[in-house]
Symmetry: C2
Subunit: 371 residues, 2 copies
């Protein structure tokens, strides 16, 4: 444990090698089909990690807030999509960004489009957000009148430059198995293509299609006729993606290393310094329906032993976590040891932890670093 002996409190450990492998794998897949890769940077939120993408020739990115767009614009990114329904209260910041970079936005109502046209002085790209079945937000895919009205309005404006249709099949995250994910993906794509056909038949200009989620990114080989793909989580993966069959345990690129502060042998449990403020509170269901906030693996000299689960994170309060060990495993752990927790949901854990430390002990900061 020589190299990682600096860990004294909950620490987000990043194995860069694993993450870069996940990245290279997806880049290869998308290159074959000449699909634009516009990765979602909300997963890592780090200018330094962004450079890994830039070194690999990627120059278009997705973010989930105006604040995140500003942060990455400052790091030299020139083509940014904010994949969140436009918050018109932030119009001043949006306007400022539109003068600095090639900015694209998500619109799903006429009133928002009108506000943008009225307030902006520079042109921005506009994606019409379509709800293809996930039911979170967007215009319903079969509300053709509403879509046509919005698209015609956008085409009539000076500053809004129609790019196409954008969807996020968030329901793939709850899908059971590869077949269901394929079904969701291609049903969504059919729906988008039907709108695209309808709009193009009306002599509206070329309509592009942008989709992207990590389950589809992980299991599909052929993404069909899309123009742009925007997954985020694939970079790190997590226990949710492992449980869903989207990755192996050894593809999970980060963990939270936590000190053991108390051992309760009678109930095969340990208390760690590591709770809801470190992991957030997403969970997975284990095979026996038990809820878990993460999977526990031993720390090693050069990272963690992904294929040797010793227990799971059973509960979290503000700073406390309770580990339930599998049979006989507890005997290998003591107060003052560090154990590694592969998180249920890496995006929320990264946001909560705010800084990474790589396996060489180097801090990698994010837009949320304490500074």
């Amino acid at each position: 444990m020589a190299t990682l002996s600096f860990i004294k409190n909950p620490t987000l450990l990043l194995d860069e090698h694993i993450a870069k492998n996940n990245l290279d794998k997806l880049i290869q897949k998308l290159k074959k089909q000449q699909i634009i890769f516009r990765p979602h940077f909300k997963t890592h939120q780090s200018a330094e990690i962004g450079e890994w993408f830039r070194e690999r020739g990627i120059n278009q990115i997705t973010v989930s807030s105006v604040e995140m767009a500003e942060y990455f614009a400052q790091s030299g990114w020139k083509d940014i999509l904010i994949a969140f329904p436009v918050n018109i209260l932030e119009i001043e910041s949006i306007s400022r960004l539109s003068r600095l970079i090639k900015l694209s936005l998500l619109v799903e109502s006429l009133e928002t489009a009108q506000t943008l046209e009225k307030s902006l002085t520079n042109s921005v790209g506009i994606w019409v957000k379509i709800d293809v079945g996930a039911g979170r937000t967007g215009i319903l895919w079969n509300a053709t009148d509403e879509i046509e009205r919005l698209v015609r309005y956008i085409n009539s404006t000076k500053n809004l430059n129609l790019l196409g249709l954008l969807a996020h099949s968030g329901n793939t995250y709850h899908a059971q198995g590869i077949q269901e994910i394929q079904n969701i993906y291609f049903e969504a794509l059919d729906r988008l293509k039907s709108i695209k056909g309808f709009l193009e038949s009306m002599q509206l200009e070329k309509i592009k299609i942008s989709v992207g989620d990590t389950p589809s990114a992980s299991i599909l080989e052929d993404f069909g006729e899309i123009d742009e793909f925007r997954p985020g989580n694939f970079l790190f993966y997590d226990v949710q993606q492992f449980q869903a069959g989207m990755c192996k345990m050894e593809n999970i690129a980060l963990c939270v290393a936590c000190p053991v502060v108390s051992i309760h042998k009678d109930r095969q449990e340990a208390v760690i310094y590591g709770g809801a403020i470190h992991f957030s509170k997403d969970s997975v269901k284990l095979d026996d329906e038990t809820l878990a906030y993460g999977i526990v693996v031993p720390i090693m000299d050069n990272g963690w032993d992904a294929n040797h689960s010793v227990g799971y994170l059973k509960s979290v309060s503000q700073e406390h976590g309770v580990i339930r060990f599998y049979e006989n495993e507890i005997d290998n752990f003591h107060v003052g040891d560090i154990i590694c927790i592969l998180p249920a949901h890496s995006c929320l854990t990264v946001h909560a932890m705010r800084d990474y430390i790589n396996l060489d002990g180097k801090i990698i900061s994010t837009m949320n670093s304490k500074g």
Copy 2:
């Protein structure tokens, strides 16, 4: 909406008047019984809010991490209890703190006590952490041999100054109704008193009792024979405490003000800018067993309308929240409006939001502020 018109993105609004009322009420209650009030500062995590307590004569506080103890020590707090099982990996910071302030710690194993004695050069106060039934951590209340062994060891040391027995009845947070909370509280107290009696009968010096949780703080009038009381959440309360009957809606002292970014009238829903990174992911069950991450109320000129719930926060992803409105309420809301969400769990929401803004628009920072 004149005074609060500065809100453009998710903003943690604090009504200082409500919070100070919650504080004054508990101070009065504890004063009558001459119990030491050692409030838990993990709820607010703010030096500025700490001053409200100091102005009211409080000079002993509770925190939940070494980092939090360091932060409040820097703001001039001289008597701090870290109510978390000692993380021996942080021994250097603990040792440094013990030279600066009157520090007390939680110990629940002989090995931790031995490490402290070996490593510290200054004396610290020691509370023995007892599990009185909550089952999270501590020595089980009926493991008298183990308790005696630890207490005898502490009494034999140079630097460890035994203060007494400490417990946290975390199970009151899941209790149904006043009677069950009373039962849990007094059962816990009986268990602590039986250990205290046992220890004192062995001519071990005077043993104090420290307890404290917000449900008990809220509904009990008589706390029995205790020396010290340490609740935290009572300052702000939240929807969990409201649902449990511990406070009224108008006693909840904070909310997250969020922009509406999309309206879906067909399903009586709106999408807000405000998600898991703002609220964390604690929830409550509403009367019909629906899960809610918060309760939605309208914003007003001088705060929010606590007694006019218009819906609930049905789901949260990273930045998105989905509001389900009650019947006919959706017609009063539009894209670009600000609505207020009273959070399920205020402690985690404060930690996630990192800064407050009071009703005069003044920023109140915390130890997690971006700076």
